[in-house]
Point group: C2
Chain length 243, copies 2
DNA sequence: CAATTTTCATTTGTCAGACAATTAAAAGTC
DNA sequence: GACTTTTAATTGTCTGACAAATGAAAATTG
């Protein structure tokens, strides 16, 4: 691991990159202990503060974890799906909000990805997934539910649909797409009528998944996607007239 | 922004979380300048080193950028797709390698997601996308190509297919899935015969996309997915016998 | 006055050294 | 042997200092 003194980047960024490469390439296996901060400082010929800043960068990406004490230190962290989820959601949320992605674009991406899961979910879903979907549908029908709670339940419903595919890689990829949409969905006011329609479509999806009919699930998802876009358009138009 | 002194987490982690929340919630708009390190240290009642460690964490997630000099400081960074891509690829690669995801699972996820893009790509692809696909197919047919170069070209081909959908959110989501597969694909030895078959299937996909026939593209992708899994199985079996 | 150069203040980047907090192993004690 | 104390190693935090970069203000020059 060497450092280029003529590079324009910070020393701590270079050191972080060097260690990151070692981890990503597999040269440092999971749970391997890194040299202590003092040793790293000596190896890279920098101060301990600089090493610490580099390590904090890696910790922010869940690449390492640190532990105090005699046998402590920095260890290569096994990246868990839960860690990856939360990073994915943060990143997706910022991408959507900072780059002014249109509701249509985000919606299209989300439903395209969900449709990819639907046939797999139809053939593999467990009773647990079905139960979750039914519970969320029931929750969505309860009166007095806020728009935010309705959207949160919607996310939970779709998570169950995606998880039903039994492919953790798909679940991970979809988590960002579905959850990052929630702030956008929260901007929509759901009337009693539109909720009724959405709940009916959810019911159709659940039925299709239960019947292990991938085609029907896909068709219901297409209908839901179209209705969501239509709903968003009418809500935004109404707002434009008012404002 | 306040800090809980009884929390188990590091001060720098708490400070990073507080600033991160402010950014993600939209309270701090893009390009807004954060207080200087000295001011932040005073506000949070910690030392400058601790503040710096917090800022490096945020920098690692591309949430802020820093600049030296009189008018310098830390600024809220507009998260660009390119930044998100690279993070996504790092994360996906580690997830696959560290959690021992099977080739079948990763492959299934990848092709399921790509199939979601195919119909959109068929209807929206530009001549540029088609040209890239053709160029990569030609490259794949050249003799003397290493397995790594063949896989890299394969990634480029599929990137063009995905980008053809004209949906940056989809491209972002897929980047991780496709590129993270490359190390797994690199483990496969491609014989002249299997390359020929893959190139033919790529040609079929390109033809379908050019003809704007989403159904044909989907069918070709399914065939490619099946062939890839089959190929991997035979390669791994041969290796098991040898070793 | 206009253009250029110099100075200066601000801010991040890096370093050195110190001490506190934590933790497990080693040593000591009953 | 079981329990307690000590100790060494390691990360977490603080302080103070200086270097490097950089734009703004001031001084200089034509």
């Amino acid at each position: 691991m060497k450092i280029d003194p003529t590079s324009s980047k910070d020393l701590s960024a270079q050191i972080a990159a060097a260690i990151r490469d070692a981890i990503v390439s597999g040269a440092m296996p999971v749970d391997e202990r890194l040299p202590s901060e003092a040793e790293l400082a000596e190896q890279f010929d920098v101060s301990r503060s600089t090493v610490r800043e580099a390590l904090k960068r890696l910790a922010a990406q869940s690449l390492i974890r640190t532990q105090r004490g005699a046998t402590g230190g920095a260890f290569v962290n096994r990246l868990r799906y839960a860690d990856a989820y939360s990073q994915q959601i943060t990143t997706s949320t910022l991408l959507l909000s900072m780059n002014a992605v249109s509701f249509e674009t985000a919606c299209e991406a989300r439903y395209a990805l969900e449709r990819a899961c639907a046939p797999l979910s139809a053939s593999r879903r467990t009773p647990d997934h079905l139960a979750t979907m039914r519970v969320e549908i029931h929750r969505q029908g309860q009166p007095g539910l806020t728009d935010e709670a309705f959207c949160a339940s919607d996310v939970a419903f779709h998570r169950a649909l995606v998880d039903g595919a039994g492919n953790p890689v798909l679940s991970y990829q979809l988590a960002g797409a579905v959850e990052a949409m929630q702030p956008l969905m929260n901007m929509i006011t759901f009337t009693a009528r539109s909720r009724e329609r959405i709940i009916a479509l959810h019911g159709g999806i659940a039925d299709a998944i239960e019947a292990q009919d991938g085609g029907a699930a896909d068709a219901a998802l297409v209908e839901l996607a179209e209705y969501t876009v239509e709903l968003a358009r009418s809500v935004f138009e109404a707002r434009a007239v008012k404002g």
